[in-house]
C-alpha cells in the first residue's frame, strides 16, 4: 500500500466517493483481513469483523482527512481494535484498571516534551534491550491480540508475573524511545 495514494483515496472517501471506497477496499482489504484473521483465528468471524472495519472506515474517513497521520497505521489500528474487541467479547477476561497498577516509579522524563518531540529510536532497537522472553510476550500480545491470561499460559508463568513483565517492558520501551 503506497501511503500517499491511500491517503488520497481516504480523502475522496471522506467526500462520499463510492468508487474511491471500492478502490480503497481492493487495495487495503488483503492486509486488513490478514490482521483480522490473525487475531480472530477463523475465516467466518474474521470476514464478519472485516465488514465492520470497512463500515467504520467509511464513517471515520472525514476524521482521518482532518488529521495528518499516515494512512496504513490508521487503517490497521481500526482492524486491530475491532478484532480485539471481538475476541474479548467472545471470551471475556478480568478487568485491569484500578487493580494493581502499583509499579515502582521510574523516571518518565519531561512529559510535555516527550509528546511533541519526534520519535527517538525505532521500536526494534528498544525491543532488543528487553529480555528475549519479554520481548516475545510484547510482540505476540500486539500481533495476536492475546490477553494477559493467554500470554501467561503460553509462557507458563503466573498471571501476575505476566502483568509485571508487560508493564515493566512498556515503561522500559517508553524510556528507551524517549532517550
Amino acid at each position: 500500500m503506497a501511503n500517499e495514494e491511500t491517503e488520497a483515496l481516504i480523502g475522496r472517501v471522506a467526500m462520499r466517493d463510492q468508487k474511491a471506497f471500492t478502490t480503497l477496499y481492493k487495495r487495503t482489504s488483503p492486509k486488513l483481513y490478514g490482521v483480522c484473521l490473525r487475531i480472530i483465528g477463523n475465516r467466518t468471524d474474521a470476514e464478519e469483523v472485516l465488514q465492520e472495519v470497512y463500515v467504520k472506515i467509511w464513517q471515520r474517513a472525514e476524521q482521518f482527512a482532518a488529521s495528518e497521520g499516515p494512512a496504513t497505521p490508521w487503517l490497521t489500528a481500526i482492524a486491530r481494535n475491532r478484532s480485539i474487541d471481538f475476541v474479548r467479547a467472545r471470551k471475556p477476561v478480568a478487568d485491569e484498571i484500578d487493580a494493581a497498577h502499583d509499579l515502582a516509579d521510574t523516571e518518565p522524563g519531561p512529559e510535555e516534551q516527550a509528546i511533541v518531540k519526534g520519535e527517538g529510536r525505532r521500536i526494534d532497537r528498544c525491543m532488543e534491550e528487553l529480555e528475549a522472553d519479554r520481548a516475545r510476550a510484547v510482540r505476540s500480545a500486539y500481533i495476536e491480540g492475546l490477553s494477559y491470561q493467554e500470554l501467561a499460559d503460553q509462557h507458563s508463568v503466573p498471571l501476575n508475573t505476566m502483568r509485571t513483565w508487560l508493564r515493566r517492558s512498556l515503561i522500559r520501551l517508553r524510556e528507551c524511545m524517549d532517550r
Partner: protein
C-alpha cells in the same frame, strides 16, 4: 479509572495503561473506558496515539490474505443500504451548503427583482436575468437564470472562480469500470448535457454519477483529474 494526573506516578500509569490498550491485553470493558477517556482527555489520547505509532512497526508481521468475494457486497449493503442511504445524487455536504446559502441569496434576489422590475419585465418579453450565487470556500457556484416571460427560474451549478479557469464535469461510474465522461456542464449555466447515444442505456439504477472540478473545457485525459465535489447513486425516486 484514574483522573488526569500530572504527577510522575500518574503519567507513568497513563503510559502503561495506554500501552496496554494498544497492545490489546485489556478486557472489553477496560478498552471502552480507555476509549471514553481518549475522547475527553486530549493529552491521554496523544499518549495512546504515540504508542500506536511506535508499535505500528509490528504491523509488518501481518500477512496479506484475500477475503472472500462475497464480503464487499455485504459491506456495500451495510453502508449504502437497500434504501440507498446516503446515495442521493446531491448528497454532499459541500453541495448542500452551497445550495442552502444560494437559496438565501436567491430569496433576497427574487424579492428585489419583483420590486424593481415590476412592469418592466412584461414589456421586454423573453429577457433573461442571471445571478451567480457563491458560497465561501465552495468549489461550486450556482448560476440562476430567470426567464421573465415564462417565469422560469433555472439554477445550474458551475465551477467557482474565473469562468475560463475551471469546469464541472459529470461522470458515470458503473461497478468497478473506469469513470466515463458524461459531459461538461456549460459554464454559462445555459443548456443541458445531451448524452451520446452509446451512454443512453448505461444510466441505470445503482450506477454512480459524480461531479469533478476539471480544467476549463473538461478533463484533458478523459479521466477525472480534479477533486470530486459530489457523487451519488442513481435510484428511482
Amino acid at each position: 479509572m484514574s483522573t488526569p494526573d500530572q504527577s510522575k506516578g500518574g503519567r507513568s500509569r497513563d503510559e502503561v495503561l495506554a500501552g496496554e490498550y494498544v497492545l490489546g491485553v485489556l478486557s472489553l470493558e477496560d478498552r471502552q473506558k480507555v476509549e471514553r477517556r481518549m475522547r475527553s482527555d486530549r493529552q491521554f489520547a496523544a499518549i495512546v496515539s504515540r504508542w500506536e505509532q511506535n508499535l505500528s512497526e509490528f504491523n509488518e508481521e501481518y500477512e496479506m490474505v484475500t477475503p472472500a468475494k462475497s464480503v464487499f457486497p455485504k459491506i456495500e449493503r451495510r453502508i449504502f443500504g437497500d434504501a440507498a442511504l446516503g446515495a442521493h445524487l446531491w448528497n454532499s455536504l459541500l453541495v448542500w451548503r452551497a445550495v442552502a446559502l444560494g437559496s438565501l441569496f436567491l430569496a433576497a434576489g427574487v424579492v428585489v427583482f419583483t420590486i424593481t422590475n415590476n412592469g418592466i419585465s412584461r414589456s421586454v418579453p423573453g429577457k433573461q436575468l442571471t445571478a451567480s450565487l457563491a458560497g465561501q470556500n465552495s468549489a461550486i457556484n450556482l448560476l440562476a437564470d430567470y426567464d421573465a416571460s415564462s417565469g422560469r427560474l433555472k439554477v445550474t451549478p458551475v465551477a467557482a472562480g474565473k469562468p475560463e479557469e475551471k469546469s464541472l464535469e459529470l461522470w458515470l461510474i458503473r461497478g468497478s469500470d473506469p469513470a466515463e465522461a458524461l459531459g461538461v456542464l456549460p459554464q454559462t449555466g445555459e443548456g443541458e448535457i445531451v448524452l451520446p447515444q452509446e451512454l443512453h442505456g448505461k444510466l441505470t439504477e445503482g450506477a454512480i454519477i459524480a461531479v469533478s472540478i476539471e480544467p476549463f473545457g473538461g478533463s484533458p485525459t478523459g479521466k477525472p483529474t480534479g477533486d470530486v465535489v459530489a457523487s451519488g447513486t442513481i435510484r428511482f425516486p
